[in-house]
């Protein structure tokens, strides 16, 4: 049997859009809880850390100027394009699937609750922006020497896994390859589920570790309390 027929065949299709979706949600949430628990079990509170948050100052012309001066010297000023692209990419990655009308209708049908939905056209733009950011990362991996030096097949695979749900979603929404619509939508659901299940156990876990390393662990560059140590 051909793969396309196999995926869009009713039994497999029903499994992908039914039980597998629930499995992927469960794996995603339990995996994130497990990783967070694991982190806390391997670290301990450092009583010697004295946390003195800076007093809040009124925003004045000088403070804004100072902020931009500091930003210019930071990673934002040194790699502005990458910082903007990566921020936009990550925002789109979260906003697009959560506030998509079609997803919210499915959610409402399944559990009787849904989030608000953005206009379909706007979400479509976000998808295009996300795919463009993905292409930027891909070209960066191929053409920027220092990135290529530490890139292996796994990085390309992770990038593919992150963008595949959006590429297939775009194809499905615009009914490109409409004669294979059922296959495309099956691939879209499958890609989304695989991505969700991969989050706690692959490099995607930086979704959790970013907050852990930057806010909780003691470090010179800590953005938060940073009062835990290994």
């Amino acid at each position: 049997m051909e793969t396309s027929t196999l995926l869009s065949g009713s039994n497999v299709f029903d499994f992908i859009r039914g039980p597998l979706a629930w499995i992927s949600f469960i794996v995603f949430f339990l995996g994130l809880i497990y990783q967070t628990y694991r982190f806390f079990s391997y670290t301990k509170k450092n009583p010697h850390v004295i946390y003195n948050p800076r007093p809040r100052k009124k925003i004045t012309g000088d403070s804004v100027q100072n902020f931009f001066k500091k930003a210019k010297l930071s990673v934002i000023g040194i790699n502005p394009v990458m910082i903007i692209v990566t921020t936009v990419f990550h925002l789109c990655l979260v906003i697009t699937p959560l506030f998509l009308l079609a997803h919210n209708i499915l959610l409402k049908n399944a559990i009787g609750f849904s989030l608000f939905s953005l206009s379909e056209r706007f979400v479509d733009y976000l998808t295009i922006i996300l795919i463009a950011c993905g292409l930027f990362f891909l070209f960066r991996r191929i053409f920027v020497l220092r990135v290529r030096a530490i890139t292996d097949w796994y990085d390309y695979f992770i990038l593919f896994l992150a963008t595949a749900p959006f590429i297939t979603g775009f194809l499905a929404y615009h009914q490109i390859f409409s004669e294979h619509y059922r296959l495309i939508i099956a691939l879209h659901i499958l890609a989304g589920e695989l991505m969700l299940m991969a989050v706690p156990f692959t490099k995607f876990v930086h979704m959790v570790f970013f907050f852990v390393f930057r806010f909780v662990i003691e470090s010179e560059y800590s953005l938060g309390k940073g009062d835990r140590t290994w």
Binding site: R38, F39, Y42, V75, I78, N79, M82, I83, T86, V144, L145, R146, V147, R148, A149, I150, T151, D155, T202, K203, V205, H206, F209, F210, V212, F213, R214, I217, S219, Y221, S222, W230
Partner: protein
């Protein structure tokens, strides 16, 4: 797969050292998104015409990452390559900045310590 000639390397001890720091090391390697935003924070990278081998993440992946990947089963040649990454290409000035918060200097210091234990370190009196 070709068998690694581990002669002269106490692989059990290397493994032991890695196990002592396993969680931190594993989480740090997993968290690294290979973005290379740390590059410009390394003065040696900037001073060496932006040679990719001086990128902090390159040094981190090709030292402690390599040891972890090989589970400590490394030969002297590999340890020599690690030595180049953690000594010749790093002053351990601790100024490297990772946007994800990975403590790169600590990882490089660990790699140095493992190499030193195995007798692989710069011998300025001989070289």
């Amino acid at each position: 797969m070709a068998k690694i000639n581990t002669a002269g390397v106490d692989t059990e001890r290397v493994k032991e050292r890695l196990d002592e720091h396993k969680t931190k090391m594993k989480l740090s390697l997993k968290a690294c998104a290979h973005c290379t935003l740390c590059a410009e924070s390394c003065f040696l990278y900037m001073a060496r015409d932006r040679d990719p081998k001086y990128t902090p993440s390159y040094k981190f992946i090709n030292s402690i990452g390599l040891l972890y990947k090989q589970k400590g089963m490394v030969d002297k040649v590999t340890l020599g390559e690690i030595r180049d990454n953690v000594w010749e290409r790093c002053a351990l000035c601790t100024r490297c900045y990772c946007p994800l918060g990975i403590n790169i200097p600590e990882m490089l210091a660990l790699a140095r310590s493992i190499c030193r234990e195995q007798g692989v370190y710069p011998r300025y009196d001989r070289e």
